[in-house]
């Protein structure tokens, strides 16, 4: 039906005007959420991986000698078969664990040299949609999203303003008092997306954010990501959605067995020559 939406991101419908409104407020919000950010400002590459490997155990290799860089403001798809290392890549960027070899730089900061006490500030500057959602089971939808703002010390008034706004954007306004186990799979996924967006991070990472969403909702989410990207946010998205990737024609990094097998601008899901 509306599968062409991502390519026309400025049509004047309601969600879109909300997004523009949000973008307008962005300058102020960025400052507040970046108050103690460890990311260095500037236009250098947002992410640099240099010979990065991650061996979980001697026989489980997540990433294998990956070298690449992602510029500020880029939109990157991460594709590859199940178990190829997409989630490993993402988890390295938020320093969930250390690489076994190589060095990673995010926003001008070498992650190996980042002190443990600074890691929370790194994570606040990165919005992350987790593949398994990682919602707080004891909190409602509203509280889950608000938590990301409370963590950065946002004042309660602006929290009360921002959270319903972002929930409306992902279509969950009427479910804000539900607990995660009272939601459908796709609804939980959208809560995770809302939480990652809510404090306007400079880097947005999404691990298969549309895996449990129907095509139409997926397109809505893609529109959202695209618009956020247009305001200057770097977006990295792991996905299996061939249709989506083909339509967007953005940079595609393809992994296989932990190795980068393709890194191409304006590309499709599958190799052009196949």
């Amino acid at each position: 039906m509306s599968t062409d939406a991502p390519s026309t991101p400025t049509e004047p419908d309601t969600p879109s005007s909300r997004v523009r409104e949000r973008a307008r407020r962005r300058g102020e919000s960025l400052r507040s959420s970046d108050r103690r950010s460890v990311l260095r400002p500037g236009d250098g590459p947002m992410v640099i991986l240099d010979g990065v490997s991650k061996e979980y155990t001697s026989d489980a290799r997540g990433l294998d000698d990956v070298t690449l860089s992602i510029e500020s403001g880029e939109f990157v798809f991460l594709v590859g078969p199940s178990g190829s290392g997409k989630s490993t890549f993402i988890r390295l960027l938020i320093k969930e664990f250390e690489p076994t070899a190589g060095s990673i730089t995010v926003g001008g900061r070498n992650l190996q040299r980042l002190r443990r006490s600074k890691v929370p500030y790194l994570r606040r500057s990165i919005g992350c949609v987790f593949q398994d959602y990682k919602l707080l089971a004891g909190r409602t939808v509203y509280e889950n999203v608000a938590y990301a703002l409370q963590v950065i010390g946002e004042n309660p008034r602006s929290t009360r303003r921002k959270v319903p706004e972002i929930l409306a954007l992902v279509g969950l306004s009427d479910k804000s008092d539900r607990y995660p186990n009272e939601l459908s799979g796709g609804e939980q996924q959208r809560v995770s997306i809302a939480r990652a967006f809510v404090n306007h991070p400079r880097l947005l990472i999404a691990d298969e954010p549309t895996g449990n969403l129907d095509p139409e909702t997926s397109i809505g989410i893609m529109q959202l990501l695209y618009r956020i990207n247009r305001t200057g946010t770097t977006v990295i998205m792991a996905t299996h959605d061939r249709e989506m990737v083909d339509k967007m024609q953005m940079r595609v990094i393809a992994l296989e067995n932990g190795k980068v097998v393709r890194d191409q601008r304006q590309a499709s899901y599958a190799r052009a020559d196949s």
């Binding site: 006490s117 990682k134 004891g138």
Partner: protein, 298 residues
């Protein structure tokens, strides 16, 4: 404002994890109740034994032939010992008073009625500051001419030794049992809190991944620990108070002087209660604070 947020978080968590909070609270309740029941019992027994120990007096028998100045000389010596702190107090006991005293000590005083006359000599009853130093007092008084040569100075070496042994036993055994209970309580509470945080480890992990600092995560848990500790301890103190009023107090009233004689002993209840509640809160706070460390390393 931050503080209010942390308190709100802690209360939210207590409500949301009712099963866990109740478990922690019950553990504190039980531990504090047991401590609160044993500490005063121990102090009571201890003070009873102590007052027995204080009855370990030294009896210096005065010769029938002693002159008044000789007796006064002995008195001067005793004053000197009292001045340097070795003697707590002393009293002169005449022969008649001695017989009355004996009557009071006998299980069957009627046999004294059969005595044709008072056979007892007059004496000084000396209460040493520390019963374990009786020997030295005896040594320094021994040579006084007022002392009856045959009866001399008696301080019931054997009985004193037995009583001191018992006193030391009760003191150490009591301290040992209370220490065991104390350590056990802390271990048990720590154990419960560890489990309760273990049950929520995924929650903590997610908070870390969303960018919460360690203290941002820790404060609500610590407050939760304090609240559970406070509530548990307060309930225990309430229960103890109920037991004290309904059981112990009526029992003491009902019982005759046999036991109440040595009271003014047990620690004041309000003080005990406050101490117990405070320690409940502290143990709760430390328990959660320390346990959490393990799960914060994400």
């Amino acid at each position: 404002m931050r503080v209010r947020f942390f308190f709100a978080e802690a209360l939210r968590s207590i409500r949301a994890n009712a099963a866990v909070s109740v478990a922690a609270t019950v553990t504190v309740l039980i531990a504090v109740f047991i401590l609160g029941a044993f500490i005063p019992s121990f102090l009571y027994v201890q003070s009873t034994v102590d007052s027995q120990k204080n009855r370990l007096d030294i009896r210096a028998y005065i010769s029938d032939s002693a002159t008044v100045s000789q007796v006064n000389g002995l008195k001067t010596q005793l004053d000197a010992l009292q001045a340097n702190g070795q003697v707590a107090s002393y009293t002169y006991v005449s022969a008649d008073e001695g017989l009355e005293e004996l009557r009071g000590r006998l299980q069957d005083p009627s046999i004294l009625d059969e005595l044709p006359s008072n056979p007892l000599p007059a004496k000084f009853t000396v209460i040493p500051s520390d019963p374990e130093q009786s020997d030295q007092i005896v040594a320094s008084l021994q040579d006084s001419p007022a002392i009856d040569e045959e009866l001399g100075i008696d301080y019931g070496e054997e009985t004193a030794d037995k009583l001191l042994t018992v006193a030391r036993f009760i003191q150490w055994a009591g301290l040992g049992l209370i220490s065991i209970l104390l350590v056990a309580s802390i271990l048990l509470i720590g154990n419960t809190i560890r489990l309760s945080i273990f049950a929520r480890r995924r929650e903590v992990e997610v908070m870390k991944l969303v960018g919460a600092t360690n203290w941002f995560i820790r404060w609500p848990f610590v407050i939760e620990g304090i609240v559970c500790g406070l509530i548990g301890a307060a309930l225990a103190v309430g229960l103890l108070w109920a037991v004290k009023i309904t059981v112990v107090d009526t029992w003491i009233q009902g019982a005759d002087s046999a036991l109440t004689r040595d009271e003014a002993t047990a620690i004041a209840f309000p003080l005990l209660g406050l101490m117990l509640i405070a320690s409940g809160a502290i143990v709760g706070a430390l328990g959660s604070g320390i346990t959490l460390r393990r799960f914060l390393k994400v």
